[in-house]
Point group: C2
Chain length 157, copies 2
DNA sequence: GTGTCATCGTTCAAATTCGAACCACGTGTC
DNA sequence: GACACGTGGTTCGAATTTGAACGATGACAC
């Protein structure tokens, strides 16, 4: 292994800030959803993706990839949402192995009810704490990072 | 509740990017530490904080606050590290209830051994994916957010 | 068609996470 | 000192998370 390139002061500042903000934001968002709506953030994200997918629904693998979560965890959470009647699971037409998840009308209701409180919290702990230039800069920087991470999917290992 | 202020396109872009990057980065960092060093990121962070605290060590509560993690989880992880001989726990002098955690020489060794691989991964999935202006902008924006979150500790709820 | 290999989603066991309840102890008041 | 009240850490149980193993297909070559 080559000699370690340690983080300089600015890089360290970026990493630390990223770490701390992430912890704070997710803890806060998680708490809000749980207390007010009885949903975990993971479940909320699933509902959002399925809502965006509409009637067609989404294959489990596609959903897992787009949520950047292990498949086994997704199986668990979707099962949970299915029990609650917010989501359905049906065999895929084109591939017997495949399973398509769809949001139910009740799932849509729950999502619509949860959205305002969730958005408000996201504003409180992140969005509204920056001015517009900072917001744009953040979106730009993380957008770049995200794009490169997508390219090299798995290339990181 | 006032009418919901939904996120506009730019705000949404920032939030989505933040979400996705966070998931990818933490998953990758977690995997690297686990595979290469047998440590969770939580444990690594504890060792870093204790290492910075030196001989004096840190009180559990202080540590929990600085790691932005629930106390019960910290108790668990510190217990785990103590079993592995990387950390010690001793009663606090000034307060019998208090517990001071300290890193052991072996803990320092483990940390020093783990650091290069960890830093390399952090570079791969975040730091090195931005140019310098983006890095600075990220540090600025998240630094601002972090400062405001610290002020209003708990004020979010 | 038959064999081989990747893919799909689930299942499994083990580890971790969380908040709430809890006990022991400081802190301040009278 | 006795009291009420806040704090420090741990314990507890329930829910969740993870990668690895698994069974059942697809896909593709021969």
């Amino acid at each position: 292994m080559a000699k370690t390139r340690w983080l300089d002061e600015q890089e360290m500042a970026a990493w630390i800030a990223f770490l701390e903000v992430s912890h704070r934001v997710f803890r806060s968002v998680e708490a809000q959803l749980k207390e007010d709506e009885g949903l975990s953030h993971a479940q909320y994200e699933i509902l959002v993706k399925l809502s965006a997918a509409g009637e067609a629904g989404l294959r489990m693998t596609v959903l897992a990839d787009s949520l950047i979560t292990p498949k086994s965890g997704l199986t668990y959470q979707v099962g949970r949402l299915e029990q609650s009647g917010l989501v359905t699971r049906t065999a895929c037409d084109s591939d017997v192995r495949g399973v398509t998840a769809r949001i139910t009308p009740r799932g849509l209701d729950v999502l619509r009810a949860a959205a305002p409180g969730h958005v408000a919290r996201v504003r409180e702990v992140l969005i509204d704490l920056m001015d517009r230039p900072q917001l744009l800069a953040l979106a730009d920087a993380l957008g770049t990072v995200n794009g490169r991470l997508r390219e090299g999917t798995g290339g990181t290992a």
